[in-house]
Amino acid sequence: MGLMERYEIVNNLVEEIDNKDLKTLSKFLKARISKPDSYVMFLGETSSGKSSLINGLLGMPTLPVSATPTTGTITEVVLSGDQTSYYAINKDATMEVIDDNLFDTLAKKPDNQLERLRIHTSAKNIKNFRFDNLKLFDTPGYGSLISEHDIVLKEFIPNSDVVVYTVAYKIGIQENDYAFLAFLNDLIREDAKVVLVVNRCPQNVQMDSPRIMEIVGYAKDLLHSELPVFLVPECKEDETYGYPLPEAKELWSFINELINSENHKEILNRAFNHYVIDLFRACENHVNSRFAMVNMSNEERLLLMKDFQQLIDSYQNVIDDEIIPSFAQIIDGTMKRLDDARNWIEERTIDAIERQGTSKMDETITYVNIHALPFATKEEIKEVNYYIETEVNALDRRVLDMLNTAIAKFQKDVSIRYEHHLDKATKNIIGNMMENGLKSGLLKFFAKYGGAGGSGAGVANAASHYLKVVGDLFGKTFKRETHNALKHTLKKIGATSVKSLAVVAAVIVEVLMVVYEYARWKSKLKKSVKKGLDKWLSEIKPLVEKDLLDLKAVNIQTVTELIEDVKSKMEINPELEDAKKLNELFTRVNETKERLGLI
């Protein structure tokens, strides 16, 4: 059975159920299946020519470029439809249509509200390639991604099919590239492809030029894999538009082959198949809950409501008595550990300075900046992360225990109460009601991305999301959600702390600017290290705290969703139900299940 056919079977059921949420869900799914997106992410330092590459593909300077850093925000280029239109997507998930002037302004100088920009433009102007439903992401440099565009790390990169990493020939691999490439491997999907573009090469430079070999060598070592390399030559301004429009034919044809490959389609197909099943599970859950409520006397229903309320109360207790106070403690402990880390780093760095002879001022400053400081910092931050991981894991275990106890109690109460009253099927349905149905799974998922008209819901998420839904027991769901969030937080703290080292470096380099006597530079340098580390500490503390607060929010959110799920079941009103119709629906669910081969 084909994917579309399976979808239609489930959609028929959705039509019959006639529930607004389920219908919306189905509509989104259909749109996705009929027009699967592919994501190409452009990463690289500022002014490495990412926007120009995209303009080159489009054959016109659609994205603003200039000699100074131009891209201040994420721009999503969607190749679909016939017309070109511009949008601003805000942090509150609203989307506005804007004109090209405002687009240019925002691209250079984004306002506080903006999350990203989007252009819809026709793929028809692109010769040679089939790029329908391709999404290209143009991004600002590494620094601003870490601090301001968390979403790129959290959602876009993990969902990308292709990551194009650009390095300008003249600039080569710099500190930031070094940090980003080392980090990239942790973020991308296993089947995603990273390609390297060495941009703005002088004419006639070949793969075997020492410069290219150096850049490629770094990238290979950092990514631990062979990767396709494309050299894009420096290109003159286009006569019509006055901007460079590099062709980069080989690059685009590589991307074209990749996203139109059978393998890629297969991956998409598999992910969508999971979605279709998710959609069916949502229907099943919905009908079952209604069915159970109707097949109960008023008295029984009142008692069940009481159980529901108890369950909600225990969930709330988990939040109030466990998650909130524990996070306060973890944040406190983390801050203390950061203080300790700062002192350790200082001690180790000063030690490194002491070991040097007084004649080696320049070398020592470089050594401290390039190795001693960043290395000590990485090591210490790993330990801080280890602390957070241990504490959060311990918390998650406690929460899990509490949740499981609450559920077990609910199921026991229900089974005792209805022992003699209800038939087995209904009892099972009530007992299993608490299985965190799709309300918090697929629906939430689409509401967040598809629903807001945004993107990001790629296939990678689909796969991991599927796991989450089939796991479906509270425990598993809770653990996976919080675990993923924890992993993300730890990565981000690592990145933040290293990036923030730039402030220390800046302070230290000041020492270089002034000529000191031999006798004095050491004490001056040590002072600078102290001063720099103080700055570093005051910069990362609030960032780490914010990350931990976000993590706390995810923990709370996950439990809150369980509460919402119970509440939605309490809202079912049996008086509005047509018992005969419901019985028919119930039969239809089972028929569909059989047709999908799920029994």
Binding site: A182, G217, Q356, E363, I370, H371, E379, E383, Y386, E391
Partner: protein, 592 residues
């Protein structure tokens, strides 16, 4: 205490090489003077020697050698204080001055244990050792050399109980977690002692709280549910207090808390061991009774009947052996498959870490650090980081591998125990095999009978014994030995001494040698474990084949004897007499 009457002789008479009689006497002996060998383990700089000195109440172990101890030091009870230095290939020597101890235990004086010291025994009259407690100071994992690794591993392999010292500030760190994990897996019980160096009360409390969380995290990962609370001890204060007679200081140090805890394990040991001895001797007697009954039965058969019965037994045992052989072949296939897997894995990890090392050091060079010392320091730092990452990845991999092989071993074990239930000859064979192994335990280090860990493990938990038990024990060493070799292999080579400019190509050989080391460490560790497991299984199968041959000879002899009726009658009488003696001893008492 001595076994009654002729029990010992009778048991020996009917148990062939297994010598159940001698073994039984040994059980009784060791219950009389129970010994509990407890290794003290800790990573570098955690105050292990200080703690041991505090326990013995004298500064015997060199404190500064904490990081460089290279041979195991046993501390056991005796009437007079003395120090024995034992060597691998010559008789032990007595030390006159305990300050000379460092000449043998300190890596600086005895580099790579070139003196060939197997272990050192410190004898001390101390009330806490009187109950049979033997403490062993093991070389820190970081300073294991090829020469002492074996002895150390033997301690770990043969014991079930350990004290592990963990830090207060900073709390347990990532690398320590891996170390703890691997050691913990090798012991059935670990007492965690947190050494305090004068941190504030609040710090100590917070630290214990966190460390306890780490331990329960680790416990969960390796399926240990029962975790004792951490015991906090101020070893320095305890040592100072006891040596300089500051009673207050000693009391506050909580060393007594630790000793009392240990005491609770030693005090009822005599009873446990006696019960254990009784149980085992009982099993021996039952087995020998079955054997005698069988012999009586055979004695009364006609020659034809006897021939048939003996042939049948022989055939059954042969068939059973073939079945086990098939299983062992499967195990060998699994080991081979795993070996290929580990080969690929080791290459991958080594390559990745090589790339990390290269990119890291190139980065430093490109940014202009060209001074020899600084470049060397950077290289060592980055290399250590890469080694740590490799350890983490390897540990996880080895863990998976171990589980798979262990499962297969358990299958074989199940087959063997079922076989023993169903087949007489198999039961006789497997029982003697099991004890052959346990007798082998005291080879190498002085593990007197029931003093060793596996005994207690078997008595208390009923762990897998016999040859499979050995194989499983070997397996448990996989990660410990891997980690210790890793840490031992970190090169501290000077890259290029005081050269103004070091080019990348000059560094390449070091990076290449790093790659080879990492790869070899992973592969060699697996290979040695694979070889050990294979040997144990081969030996077991060989014993079975030898048993078949001896069975044939014995059976031929039985037939021969059956023709001689006078001898046959005499023999029947003897069998009946022995049987009665055993029954009598069983009903009254086994020993005086």
């Amino acid at each position: 205490m001595i076994l009654v009457g002729k029990v010992k002789d009778i048991l020996n008479k009917y148990s062939g090489n297994a010598l159940y009689g001698d073994l039984s006497q040994k059980f009784v002996d060791s219950a009389e003077s129970p010994e509990l060998i407890v290794p003290v383990i800790g990573m570098q700089g955690m105050g292990k020697s200080t703690l041991l000195n505090a326990i013995i109440g004298e500064n015997i172990l060199p404190n500064e050698a904490d990081e460089t101890t290279c041979v195991p030091v046993e501390i056991r009870f005796g009437e007079e204080t003395r120090i024995e230095v034992h060597f691998t290939s010559k008789p032990f020597e007595l030390l006159n001055e305990h300050k000379d101890l460092k000449l043998y235990v300190d890596n600086n004086y005895n580099p790579g244990n070139q003196l060939g010291v197997s272990h050192i025994v410190v004898v001390k009259k101390h009330r806490f050792l009187e109950s049979g407690l033997v403490l062993v100071d093991l070389p820190g994992v970081g300073s294991l050399t090829k020469n002492n690794q074996e002895t150390t591993m033997r301690y770990i392999k043969n014991l079930c109980f350990a004290i592990m010292i963990i830090p207060t500030v900073p709390t347990i760190r990532r690398m320590e977690e891996i170390f703890i994990k691997s050691v913990w897996k090798a012991f059935s019980k670990v007492i965690f002692v947190q050494n305090i160096f004068g941190e504030s009360k609040r710090e100590v409390m917070e630290s214990i709280d966190f460390n306890q969380k780490v331990l329960s995290d680790i416990g969960q990962q390796i399926n240990i549910s029962e975790i004792d609370p951490i015991i906090a001890v101020n070893a320095y204060d305890a040592a100072y207090g006891i040596i300089h007679k500051h009673n207050d200081m000693y009391e506050k140090s909580n060393l007594n808390g630790l000793l009392n805890h240990l005491d609770s394990y030693t005090s009822d040991r005599r009873e446990i061991l006696l019960a254990y001895a009784k149980q085992h001797i009982g099993e021996f007697i039952t087995e020998i009774k079955t054997k005698i009954n069988k012999l009586i039965e055979e004695n009364q058969m006609s020659i034809d009947e006897l021939q048939r019965s003996l042939d049948e037994n022989e055939l059954e045992f042969k068939q059973s052996t073939e079945k086990i052989e098939l299983e062992v072949e499967e195990l060998q296939l699994l080991l081979k498959k795993t070996s290929r897997e580990i080969k690929t894995f080791s290459m991958r990890i080594a390559r990745e870490q090589k790339e990390n090392l290269r990119v890291g050091i190139y980065h430093v060079i490109d940014c202009g650090v060209v001074d020899g010392d600084q470049l060397t320091q950077a290289f060592v730092d980055i290399q250590n980081g890469c080694v740590n990452d490799a350890i983490e990845q390897t540990f996880d991999k080895m863990d998976g591998v171990m589980t798979e092989i262990r499962n297969k071993l358990e299958e074989i074990n199940l087959l063997i125990s079922r076989e023993s239930e169903a087949n007489y000859e198999s039961m006789i064979f497997n029982n003697s095999e099991a004890f052959k192994f346990e007798k082998g335990l005291d080879i190498g280090i002085k593990l007197v009978g029931a003093g060793g860990g596996i005994w207690v493990g078997a008595a208390v938990g009923g762990a897998i014994g016999g040859p499979i038990g050995v194989a499983v024990g070997i397996l448990a060493m996989l990660s410990v030995s891997a980690i210790s070799s890793f840490l031992g292999s970190t090169t501290k080579k000077e890259i290029v001494k005081a050269r103004a400019r070091t080019t990348k190509s000059e560094i390449e050989p070091y990076i290449e040698s790093f790659y080879n080391t990492i790869r070899a460490v992973i592969l060699d560790n697996y290979k040695s474990i694979e070889a050990d497991v294979t040997n144990v299984m081969d030996e077991y199968l060989n014993s079975r084949k030898e048993y078949i041959n001896s069975l044939k000879a014995e059976n031929a002899q039985k037939i021969q004897r059956a023709y001689n009726e006078t001898e046959s009658d005499l023999r029947l009488k003897e069998l009946k007499f022995d049987l009665e003696s055993l029954k009598k001893a069983e009903g009254e008492k086994l020993w005086d």
